[in-house]
Subunit: 133 residues, 4 copies
């Protein structure tokens, strides 16, 4: 439950998004399940040596998305799994991610079938990256 991970401060991806990403992944892969408590804002901030506000922002966005919920005075906990977005919105988000992916890979000269193959191959690796402690 201690959420072992690092962030890369210089990256174009903002720190709070990196934090969100790690936690989302833990939830998506089942490393964190409903009712689990996230580390306190100050603790995680210290561990990552970032400002508490930055962690708080990540928690706030995850809360807004409904992935976690905050119980005042007690901490932030993984929320029961729900379907938050409409079919339409999920399609929109999928398309946005897909196009971004195409944009970032189009000039790598990898043919589409090969790309898809690689993507399928990368998935278990991604899934496993999150250490189940």
């Amino acid at each position: 439950m201690s959420l072992q991970f690092d962030i890369t401060p210089g990256s174009p991806e903002p720190i709070y998004e990196q934090i969100e990403g790690h936690i989302r992944r833990q939830i998506a892969t089942g490393s964190l399940v409903e009712g689990d408590q996230l580390p306190p804002v100050r603790t995680l901030a210290e561990q990552l040596t970032v400002n508490p506000n930055t962690v708080a922002r990540a928690y706030a966005e995850l809360t807004a998305e409904g992935l976690v919920e905050s119980r005042t005075g007690r901490g932030v906990f993984v929320a029961p799994r729900r379907q938050i977005f409409s079919e339409e919105e999920r399609n929109r988000r999928f398309h946005r991610a897909a196009w971004r992916f195409f944009d970032e890979t189009a000039f790598l000269d990898i043919p589409v079938p090969e790309m898809v193959r690689r993507l399928e191959a990368a998935w278990p690796d991604y899934f496993r990256k999150t250490p189940t402690p």
Copy 2:
């Protein structure tokens, strides 16, 4: 050579990246080949109704990447095709893009096979974004 395409003002993707993307894709798919001239900065800026600086930036980055080259006084031309990135670099970029894609889609609750199917389905649409003139 007149580069028919639109940019999406509402997108979070910066305009200069959208322009770069379109040109990269034209080159990747063979719509633009070695020696073809790109439209002058001012012309393209007018056509897209964006700031000339924005177009200039896109051209500059493509030049830096070696995809196009500027012949002073005459314009910007598609460069001879060569292997720009090392195998290692291409793998690195592919992985980064793939992980970002996973991060953005993991919590959409779309199973992997379905995701792959959708991705393959989205490609022609993406490709068509830039009509080959």
Copy 3:
């Protein structure tokens, strides 16, 4: 388009939520329509005499909700209307709001039919509160 409104700093409702509320209402009632630009963060911050970060936070949340979209370097604009939440999530939010309403009115000793009548009567007033300039 100048968004005439005040905020009450002492209120239990946080300032950024008050700002969000006003803008949501303007959009809900049609005072702000797709494509309209919101006042710049700094301008609105000055007008309300709050910190720019506070306004930025309100804008960020509205952006996350999909009600507005930010075009980098140019400003924040009202987004095309979309159905963002699933039926389930909308029900959940409606129920939460309804129960909160009941909690806040239960001890006012107003019988339910009377309450409903009053609520219907209050709506046009609410709707009109947002000045169409």
Copy 4:
């Protein structure tokens, strides 16, 4: 008199407010009448597995409002019913609650008549939240 109810730990509504709400409702609906004794702070705290301070706070606020009264050494009892708020105050509170409700539901795209219908439908459910023992 044993006050059968649960609190929802995941809710954004603070626990002490949930407790207050339940008791207010019991009084409003006649489940608790003048002279009835509330369970001792420690007992209720144990039953709900919350901090005794939290229960104490709820009792304190209800006492301050005049809904219950504490007879030192013997416990807390439901106070004689009286008009607690002036007509004006009741209108003010109703309006505040109504506007908050509108704010939270305006962007759910539910037409007013449908909203009223749903609200009426939700009431019995809300009422039942506290089973009359």
